[in-house]
């Protein structure tokens, strides 16, 4: 027997230990581990799969094409961010938040800074707060745009994906000229922001908003009105307000189910209380509702940016020297802000040491994904993909 085939034979004869089933199915719910004998079968969707948005593994129990049971298996991109926070200064954690959620990196970065500032009473100049809000909203649009493209791609439409990417690229160019980075920002620091806006920023931003509005019109015609898209999303994956309540879902997923909650309005942080914007909500709770809510949210973000551009105050953008060591005050603090996917919470337990004693991030996708199990049962494989896409999970944010 030649080399490779002997190896194969050895593989086939490999003794299966009693733990094999346990190992194979890992952290699954017990009822999923039992081998089905009723004609149903398991399908391991992921962790390497084109539409699991990173490394999510869905173990589906299928009857033909119907999903009977489902269990998400997560943790493939766990990097122990919370532990990292404990071993360094508050400022040394600055590069990490934007790596948790790489699509809403700016909002995570700004959110962490605001959490520390709120806790230890660091004041932020006006201009820095306006800049932070503006770049956060740009980041929200870019995140939603990528979601929009990926969602349509999950449904099989390829062109909107790349069109959305072009728009996103324009926004990234703009953010690049402000922050110096394109994806994982480390822009805000304690007490302000690191760089001021470039001179030509306002003009470029206004032009971008104009083109973005026309592009939204195109997307409406190309995607929103498309009858195939409608039939794939209308009435699919309905999340009830009760589920939202039970699973602490937040963000567009909750708002599409009629739960009118947005941190920016419920607990206005930074300058959001001075801004005029609407929180779009819908009552259907299906994929289409989530789609429409996000779409409207992008338009609202454009409105916020316009107001920021108009009312941008002048003045310093932060302390002359970046604050590297902050004066800590022992206590437990919670700061929450609205990430593109929902309520992002920073739970901070500080002692007098310069490192956080415990830093816990309450990430929105974590809760949103845990609600998936209930929604997926009884749908078809294609719907599974559509629902997963419409919930808009970012796996590194869940795994942390």
């Amino acid at each position: 027997m030649s080399g490779p085939s002997r190896k194969l034979a050895a593989y086939a004869e490999h003794p299966r230990t009693p733990e094999f089933a346990e190992l194979r199915f890992g952290n699954l719910e017990p009822h999923l581990i039992e081998a089905p004998d009723d004609g149903t079968y398991y399908l391991n969707m992921g962790p390497h799969h084109p539409s699991t948005h990173g490394v999510l593994r869905l173990v589906l129990r299928l009857d033909g094409e119907k999903v009977i049971d489902c269990e998400p298996v997560i943790g493939y991109s766990h990097r122990a961010h919370e532990k990292m926070a404990e071993r360094g200064l508050y400022s040394q954690f600055l590069p990490n938040p934007s790596r948790m959620d790489y699509l809403g990196g700016m909002i995570y970065n700004v959110g962490y800074c605001q959490a520390v500032e709120q806790a230890f009473g660091i004041s932020v100049p006006d201009r820095a707060r306006w800049i932070r809000t503006m770049v956060s909203e740009f980041n929200r649009i870019s995140s939603h745009l990528l979601w929009f493209g990926a969602f349509i791609m999950d449904l099989g439409g390829f062109t909107p994906f790349l069109l959305a990417f072009q728009d996103r690229e324009n926004i990234l160019d703009l953010l690049d000229s402000v922050t110096g980075s394109r994806l994982t920002y480390c822009y805000a620091n304690f007490g302000g922001v690191t760089l001021d806006l470039p001179d030509d920023f306002a003009g470029r931003a206004k032009a971008l908003i104009e083109t973005q509005r026309t592009h939204f019109e195109t997307y409406k015609k190309l995607v929103t009105d498309n009858t195939i898209f409608r039939s794939r999303t209308d009435g699919i994956g309905i999340i009830t307000p009760e589920q939202v309540h039970s699973y602490a879902m937040t963000g567009p997923c909750a708002r599409a189910s009629g739960v009118d909650y947005d941190v920016r309005r419920a607990e206005p942080y930074s300058i959001y209380s001075e801004l005029d914007f609407e929180v779009p909500t819908r009552t259907e709770g299906d994929c289409l509702a989530r789609y429409l809510v996000r779409f409207e949210e992008m338009e609202q973000s454009l409105r916020i940016i316009e107001q920021c551009l108009e009312r941008m105050p002048s003045g310093p953008i932060g302390p002359d020297r970046p604050l590297i060591r902050v004066k800590t005050k022992p206590g437990s603090y919670y700061f929450t802000c609205e990430s593109p996917r929902g309520q992002l919470g920073w739970f901070l337990l500080a002692d007098k040491n310069p490192e956080p004693w415990r830093l816990h991030a309450r990430t929105p996708s974590f809760c949103n994904l845990s609600a998936m199990i209930e929604v997926l049962k009884g749908t078809m494989i294609a719907d599974t993909i559509a629902i997963l896409g419409s919930i808009d999970v970012v796996m590194p944010e869940i795994d942390r």
Binding site: L8, Y11, A12, Y41, L43, H49, P50, S51, E65, I152, M153, D154, L155, G156, G157, F158, T159, L162, L163, Q166, L222, V223, N226, I228, F229, S231, R232, M380, I381, A382, D383, T384, I385
Partner: protein, 331 residues
């Protein structure tokens, strides 16, 4: 060239020479068409999406496909451990071989028809059905759940869409009074009688939809839906197995568009240019439409696909057929 052919005839006899020449021409057509289509599809998709597409090799990247073919040839043909070996290897061949027969049935011009069969249309559909076996064999033998799902989906989808496809062509056949494709083209070119799409617009629309579904093209690419089933029935096929499936897909696209062009768009009929040119222009126009469908629409769900066939297309095409029959009877 004629001298060469004469010499060959002297050596091998007329039949064998004709067979060899036809075979070579069709094989060349298959390869060139596939290579052109791959390039064309990449280019069109790129243009639609604001990209440039392949640009590196040759003007506008025209040689890209050639290099891709060379790359595919150089790859190691892996056969996974637990597949059904014989079926696994046979599947792409079964999927591909009928394509040769199908191509020989198309009327490229009035006198350039490789096989002028009296029941041409029926033969097209009969051999088209064989290729489905290849797809199913590939899905079944791969020993992979995605592939199996893809294969199963392919079978039910093809059976569902065979019906509207046949019924819509039957309306044309009734109007023309013959099953011979060349004769249907001749009916359209005969003085004063326009192309059939003027009389049968509904049949043409149904034909295009059903043909897109029949060739497993988006938005009906359920058997290989890459966002659901990774790559569907050819998930496990590397290198040449994959290339042959690809070749088969593009050849079938050419065939269904060729039949469509012959039946509805007057085949080789057209001013100024020679017949084969007009035929190719019409075929590639239809192919362009199919490419545009792929890059515009999202995919249907499996049950919606079935609904579309059984609840909409089949009743519509039946109604169309009955109306056609009635009109022909009355006129």
């Amino acid at each position: 060239m004629p001298a060469l052919i004469a010499a060959l005839e002297g050596m091998l006899g007329t039949w064998l020479t004709q067979f060899l020449l036809g075979f070579t021409a069709l094989a060349a057509l298959i390869t060139l068409n596939a290579m052109f289509m791959v390039w064309f599809e990449r280019k069109v998709s790129a243009w639609v999406q604001g990209r440039l597409g392949p640009m590196e090799h040759g003007p506008q990247g025209t040689l890209q496909t050639l290099l891709d073919v060379i790359k595919l040839l150089g790859k190691e043909p892996i056969i996974p451990a637990k597949v059904d070996r014989t079926t696994f290897i046979l599947a792409p061949v079964v999927a591909f071989l009928p394509a040769l027969v199908l191509l020989s049935l198309l009327p490229y011009s009035e006198d350039l028809v490789f096989t002028n069969a009296e029941s041409g249309i029926l033969l097209v559909f009969a051999f088209g059905g064989v290729s489905l076996m290849g797809v199913f064999m590939g899905g079944w033998s791969s020993n992979n759940k995605y592939a199996l799902l893809g294969g199963v989906r392919a079978v039910s989808q093809n059976i569902a869409y065979e019906l509207p496809l046949l019924l819509s062509t039957m309306a044309v056949v009734l109007s023309a009074g013959t099953l011979n494709i060349s004769k249907i083209v001749q009916v359209q070119t005969a003085g004063g009688f326009g192309w059939f799409f003027m009389y049968q617009p509904l049949a043409l629309i149904i034909y295009i939809i059903a043909a897109t579904a029949e060739t497993n093209r988006a938005p009906f690419d359920i058997p290989e839906a890459e966002s659901e089933l990774v790559a569907g029935f050819h998930t496990e096929y590397p290198a040449m197995g994959f290339a042959v499936f690809f070749l088969a897909e593009y050849t079938y696209m050419f065939v269904v568009c060729g039949v469509g062009a012959a039946l509805f768009l007057g085949g080789n009929h057209g001013p100024w240019l020679p017949g084969p040119c007009w035929f190719l222009i019409k075929v590639y126009f239809l192919l362009f439409l199919m490419v545009m469908f792929r890059w515009t629409f999202p995919r249907l769900r499996f049950d919606q696909l079935m609904d579309l066939a059984w609840k909409l297309l089949i009743p519509l095409s039946l109604a169309n057929l009955m109306v056609t029959a009635l009109v022909i009877k009355l006129v």
